[in-house]
Every structure is written in structure tokens, then in C-alpha cells.
Amino acid sequence: MSATPNQVGRRRFNPDRDVEEWHGSYVPYDLLKEALVAFLAVGVLIIGLSVVFSSPDEQPVTLKSWSTSDPVGFAQTAITELDGTSALAIYGPPYNSTPGASQQIGFFSPEKWFGVHHPIDTAKDFVLGPLRMLSNQPVVAAALNRYSSASSTQQSVWTSAYEKVVTNAQFAHGALQVTKGSYGPVAPLISSLTSMARIGALDGALLSSNQFYDTNYTKPLLFIANGGYVANLAGQQKLQGSQWGMMNETGNYPGQAWLWLYTLWYQVSPMKTSTNGDLEVFSIMIGLTLVLALVPFIPGLRSIPRWSRLYRLIWRVHYRDLKSGTSA
């Protein structure tokens, strides 16, 4: 190497920022040949992996499959959507404007600043609206009218009473059976919604929009996510947040292993239990990402490669040749 520092100008030469111009030897190097060989080698590798391991394709959960396998669990979730106590009903932005629900670190609360962009009223969108689509169902129509015309206090009395007994409900003779009580129209409403879900009509109802084609699954996904059924299935596949779920996928596949650092922060306190955990983890990751991108500009950090001396391993042939005098 030349002793003349390159690209330093009038600045003092810094080995972590500057290089000395290479005046040593050059060797033949067929880039295109190397690229073709590498392309074929990677092709063989991925074809082999695909033949041996294929790729996962677990069937999605639908409202129909959930309500068929676990009608009581479905009804338990449905009643919380109706009375506005589900996790989604009090989620906050971007779905609704529940006071104090937005995550924040001090004054920093971007969720709150952006506000509601996908408004969802769980009672109206998940229960009452779909039931109104049922035609020629006088019992359902009467229950809807009675519920909608009642005061909010009366509605709460009915839903609270129903919530206490729905855990012991049974689906029999085409309807959800609960012990007799003062539930007003709530029992026929939830029973009808469960029946509607079991024939697959609710899946379509939650997708309905003002146009024929639709590719937005926000509502059915949020409804399904509110129940414990899908979470139990995910737990069996080791996909829960406490199981490093964000980087895993079904089966024994590597998944998004590159998200390991992001997932790591969810396993440690205080993010593990914090109500602002998501914002805290994202803030940490944004900070670390900026550090990674700006390493060349940060004194100290950019010296780590030189201090670590791993470069001697990477360029060991060069340094060996240099010492033996066979290379420039």
C-alpha cells in the first residue's frame, strides 16, 4: 500500500474513516462467471430445501370454523363486542377514540396524533349491523328493535346478566341455549349471531362494503383476534408473543429470524408488561436502526472493527502474503 493517505485532504488521516490508496497487485476475477456459478449453487440449495421441507400453509381461522368448534367462546366474545367491553371496543386509535387508550412515552404519542382512521363501533359493526342483514327473521327483527330502542342503562343490565351465564351455554337444536334469566333481547341476538356465523354468513357480512369486490379483511380479523380460539391455536404453534411469536411461523420453519432483536425486547421488562410496550419497543428499534445506519459517522463505534481485529481473519491471506513479501 502507498504511504500516501487517500481522500484525506487537509484533514488528519483517521484509520476508521480514511484509506490508503491501493497500489498493489491485481488478479484476474471473472465477476460474471462467479455470479452464474453462485446463481446455480443457490438454485440447487433452494430447490433442495423446497423438495425436502416444502412451505407451511395452515388453513386460516374463519368465523364459521371458530363458531362451529367453539360456539360458547364465540358467544362470549360476541357479547363483549355488543356491550363495548372487548379489547377492540376500548382499543383507541386508529379504530376508536377511547380516552387514555393511546400508547405514549411522555408527550410522545403518535397513535393519538394520527387519530381514528379505521372507525369501528363493535356493537354496530360486529353484531347489530350483520343481524340487520338477515331477512324474514321476525324474532331477530323484534329483538333488534327492542334492543335499539332501550336506554343504554337497560342495555347494560341485559348484557351484564347474559355475560354471567354465557360461559355455561350450550349450542343445541340450532340455537345457543342458556339458563333462563332477564336478558331481554340479548339472548336471541347472540344466539342468532352464533347461528349466522356457523353457516358462514357472518364472514361475508363483515366483509361487505359498497362495492362487489373487497380485499380488506380488517373487521373479520379484528373480531377473530378478540377471541381466545385463535390465540390458543397460535399457542400450540409457538406463535404467542411470549414465545418469540413475531419471528416464528407455523411448523418448524425458520420464519422471520431477522426480527429476533425486535422480538427480544418483548421478552424483557419493562416492555414485557408495559401498557406502552409496543411504542417502547419500536422507539428502541428505531434508535438502534439509526445507530446502525450512521455507524460510519459515530466516533468510537466506527473504531470497533479495528479494535476487534477480526479484519486480520478476513484478510489473513493478504496479511500473510504481505509478511512473506509475495504481495504488495
Binding site: Q7, Y26, S55, P110, H118, A257
Partner: protein, 233 residues
């Protein structure tokens, strides 16, 4: 009848058309990327290390990702759920993505421990990191576009993190159509363009030389083939 074709005998770079945007752009491009630098057939002797292989392995893995992704796009998003051939192509797509990230991460840490940003190559490092991040987004939206249990679970879990940043207002991970568009149009375009920019920067500045050892003697110039480039290649 004879048709005569008039061939210009002087270069526009030095002629009356030198002020043309086109001529000026060509002049700048040729100065930055002379053919022997853009597609060199010789490299510095210090490149004798396996670590350099991971850059090209990353590139060819991206080629496989792109090819298999294009086949899936040709047949539509539901094809691989109902066809054995489709499932195989999807498997190729999945494993090429895994290979792409595996090679890219080794390439990244290799470049870190080489301090590859030295010699005015800092933007090359930055574009590499941005490409990595864009690739993470492309892969993530791919998982959201699978239309199976994985995409259901990942989207409903990821929404909380995305919403916490406020991005959920415009980037709805539960909207399959939106995520599919991001996955097959916007993010792949970003990855390919950034990768192209990154490679051009590498070709422009050359491969970073090793750290000098204490007491290292100045080198000879006997076989350097690219005196015209003038950079640190």
C-alpha cells in the same frame, strides 16, 4: 437509389451540442462508470477471502426471490394454495427469501468488521442498511399476504406495534389488498432500486482496502491495471 447515412464524426461532448442535458448526463455517467470499472475483469489481490462471496450470494438470492415471486404473481395469489406446482414455487420463494437474508446478514457483518465505509464509502454503507430495512418490510408484507393462518396471526399481532407508531393510520396490516400491493409492487421496487444503487456505489468507489498494519512497507505499482480510475480500488 442510394441512401446516405450521415454519421457524426465528432463527439457531442466536445462539439456544439456539449451543453445538451443528454450529452452532459452521458459525460458524467461515463466519467463515473468507465466500462473497466463498471464491469472489471481484475480485482485487487486482497480480495482473496470467502467473505466477498456473500455479496454476490445475496444478489443471486435476490434474483431467485424475484423470479419465483414473478411466477407467483403471474398465476395469482390463490394459485399456490390449490396447486402442487404452485406450492413448490411458493416453497422456492420462501427458501430463496431465507437464503437472501442469511447471506445478506453475513455480508452486512462482514462489511462491518472490514469497516467498509472507509475511504468516502459511507453512503455505500447507509444504502446497504436501508436496503436491508426495505427487505425486512418486503418480507413482512409477504407473510401478511399468504392468506393462511400465519398471515392472520402475524397481522393481528403486528397491528399493535404498527398502530403504536401512528403508521397504522395509513399502513393497515389487516388490509390484504393493501399489503399485497406493498409486497409485490412498492417494496420489491424499492429493494431492487436500492440494491442497484448500492452496487453502483461499490463499483464507483471500489472495494475497500485492508487496514494497514503497523510498519507496513509501501507497495509497488507493478501490476495495477486501472490507473485511469483513480479511486481506491
Amino acid at each position: 437509389m442510394t441512401i446516405e447515412t450521415v454519421v457524426p464524426t465528432t463527439s457531442a461532448d466536445a462539439g456544439p451540442d456539449a451543453a445538451q442535458w443528454t450529452a452532459r448526463a452521458r459525460k458524467v455517467a461515463v466519467a463515473a462508470f468507465p466500462p473497466e470499472r463498471l464491469l472489471p475483469d481484475r480485482q485487487p489481490a486482497y480480495m482473496a477471502s470467502w467473505i466477498y462471496v456473500f455479496g454476490v450470494l445475496t444478489l443471486v438470492s435476490l434474483a431467485w426471490v424475484t423470479i419465483t415471486g414473478c411466477i407467483l404473481a403471474l398465476m395469482g395469489p390463490t394459485w399456490w394454495h390449490v396447486s402442487k406446482v404452485g406450492l413448490f414455487v411458493n416453497s422456492l420463494h420462501l427458501w430463496s427469501v431465507e437464503a437472501f437474508f442469511f447471506f445478506m446478514v453475513i455480508h452486512l457483518w462482514g462489511k462491518f468488521f472490514m469497516a467498509a465505509w472507509r475511504g468516502n464509502r459511507r453512503l455505500t454503507w447507509v444504502t446497504g442498511v436501508v436496503t436491508f430495512l426495505t427487505s425486512v418490510g418486503a418480507a413482512f408484507t409477504g407473510y401478511l399476504s399468504q392468506q393462511n393462518f400465519d398471515s392472520q396471526w402475524i397481522s393481528t399481532q403486528a397491528k399493535d406495534g404498527i398502530n403504536a407508531t401512528g403508521a397504522g393510520a395509513v399502513f393497515n396490516v389487516l388490509n390484504f389488498g393493501q399489503m399485497l400491493m406493498w409486497h409485490i409492487v412498492l417494496l420489491p421496487a424499492g429493494v431492487v432500486l436500492l440494491t442497484g444503487l448500492h452496487v453502483l456505489m461499490v463499483r464507483h468507489r471500489g472495494i475497500v482496502p485492508p487496514f494497514a498494519l503497523a510498519g507496513e512497507t509501501p507497495a509497488s505499482n507493478e501490476s495495477a491495471p486501472q490507473p485511469a480510475t483513480g479511486d481506491a480500488q
